[in-house]
């Protein structure tokens, strides 16, 4: 007997179970953590193509003549620079400079922006944006209108192109097109969270299972495999991409997280700007940095990091890197130690294990 509310299900839930996925409670969603195994799925994405159900991700839409004003006020990047069909990574910040969420902003039209947000944050994000809406925009939590499937890997384009007349080679990285897949409307974005080439497609929920099965069939010649949240995490960790609740949260500013590239001070006022200016003026106290384990042991999320025996920071994400065959991670350290080449110790189950700081990312795909 349990008082926990029933888990939310994506439109692909039955498909995952039919594929023999191991399902887990991921922030209230019943999601596949693995099918054939995390290492196999990870390597399949790096070497060929993998298919992810990311329908748990949220979608918010901002519409109205002054949609840009609202989007630019609540986010850190400069949405005025986006062309129609272009997307960028951005942050939603509190007034105190910490993250509400990290998001992708897509410009559909001058009066229409499409935001992809984290599953567990969508209601909070919606309330945050709605509360800042003094421009009479229409803000919609449109998550239930979309399923999202990520096709990722060097063979992603070849796989998806078999199902669409939309010319994928014409969609540059971090651009998108409203086209079709198998004849039905689809928003096809050249984006991803794996460090590999790939696309994220947004489709109507009732068509998700058909698209999923068509993609598995189209990618069969390349060895496509379904991939779960386990591989999604090892892939994004190697690529040095932030995960909300780990590298970033309400207590962390984008400057500390190494995300100054999504903060555009010159665009004018935005939520959190004052605090970021103050941080810049005063200098940062801490910063995110990568590490590699040197001793035997795996530094994992939440483990303490010491420098010269003194507690100095904590691991935000850590684990084995299947591609590099090393144990890697990211951690926060005092600003003067958050540089590559610093000897650190990670406290692995009450034992100090040697590690060394390294730059982020750990992995860059070959061009």
């Amino acid at each position: 007997m349990s008082d926990a509310p029933a888990l939310l299900k994506t439109p692909l839930n039955a498909a995952h179970r039919a594929l023999g996925a191991r399902m887990v409670d991921f922030g209230g969603w019943d999601m596949p953590v693995q099918y054939s195994g995390i290492l196999d799925e990870h390597n399949t994405v790096r070497n060929a193509v993998g298919l992810f159900d990311v329908s748990h991700m949220g979608e918010l839409e901002v519409r109205g003549p002054q949609a840009l004003d609202l989007v630019n006020y609540v986010s850190t990047n400069n949405a005025a620079k986006l062309a129609h069909g272009q997307a960028h990574y951005s942050g939603l910040l509190y007034e105190h400079g910490g993250f509400v969420d990290d998001i992708l902003v897509h410009k559909v039209a001058d009066d229409h922006y499409f935001l992809c947000v984290n599953a567990g944050n969508q209601d909070k994000d919606f309330a945050h944006i709605a509360a800042a809406n003094r421009w009479d925009c229409v803000v919609e939590n449109s998550g239930p209108k979309f399923a999202q499937i990520a096709v990722q890997g060097p063979k992603a384009a070849a796989t998806l192109q078999k199902l669409t007349k939309t010319d994928l080679s014409a969609i540059k990285y971090y651009w998108f097109a409203d086209g079709e897949v198998s004849g039905d409307w689809a928003r096809i974005a050249h984006t991803g969270y794996t460090g590999e080439d790939g696309f994220e497609i947004y489709v109507a929920p009732e068509l998700a299972e058909a698209r999923w099965n068509e993609l598995l069939a189209a990618g069969a010649e390349f060895g496509i495999k379904p991939a779960g949240l386990g591989a999604r995490n090892t892939l994004r960790l190697e690529a040095g991409m932030a995960l909300y609740g780990h590298e970033i949260d309400a207590s962390i500013s984008p400057l500390e997280a190494g995300l100054q590239w999504i903060v555009k001070m010159e665009k004018g006022d935005f939520l959190g700007r004052g605090k970021l200016e103050a941080q810049k003026a005063a200098g940062l106290n801490r910063h995110l940095i990568g590490f590699e384990m040197r001793g035997r042991g795996i530094g994992r999320d939440g483990y303490e990091v010491r420098v010269d025996g003194t507690p100095a920071g904590w691991v935000t994400s850590g684990g084995p890197s299947p591609t590099l065959n090393k144990n890697i991670g990211m951690c926060y350290l005092p600003i003067h130690q958050a540089l590559p080449g610093v000897a650190i110790e990670v406290m692995v189950r009450n034992q100090s294990v040697e590690a060394v700081t390294v730059p982020i990312p750990f992995y860059k795909r070959p061009k």
Partner: protein
């Protein structure tokens, strides 16, 4: 998967096989299956003393760390050195080549209090 009839099992998914006064300890097929790809095994030192129900090491998969609880009390007389460089062997042969430690049993009779193969299989079947 078959669970050897001559092994005894715990609800924490370890097994022990007794010969004379020595117990060989491992984790079950079910345990490795639940963990997924195993990438690291941390074992106690030879000569250390372990007690029933006490954590003596850990097994790490890509995703998570899992404690190993000793099914028996005694002194560690040997550890499986194959696992340091080949932790994935735990996924391949958990009831055989990928045993973890051998323990000189403080009380060999204690083993009879553990689950037999049928009881363990009924337990994991829920």
């Amino acid at each position: 998967m078959t669970y050897p009839e001559n092994y005894r099992y715990t609800k924490e998914h370890e097994w022990v096989s007794v010969e004379g006064d020595t117990g060989t300890v491992g984790i079950t097929f079910h345990a490795q299956s639940e963990l997924g790809d195993i990438v690291y095994v941390d074992l106690p030192k030879v000569g250390s003393v372990v007690e029933t129900g006490q954590s003596f090491g850990s097994v790490e998969s890509v995703k998570a760390v899992s404690d190993i609880y000793s099914p028996v009390s005694g002194e560690v007389v040997e550890i499986n050195t194959l696992l340091a460089d080949g932790p994935e062997k735990l996924n391949e042969d958990p009831h055989g080549a990928a045993w973890l430690v051998k323990i000189k049993l403080a009380d060999p009779a204690q083993v009879s209090t553990l689950l037999d193969a049928a009881a363990y299989q009924a337990y994991i079947a829920g």
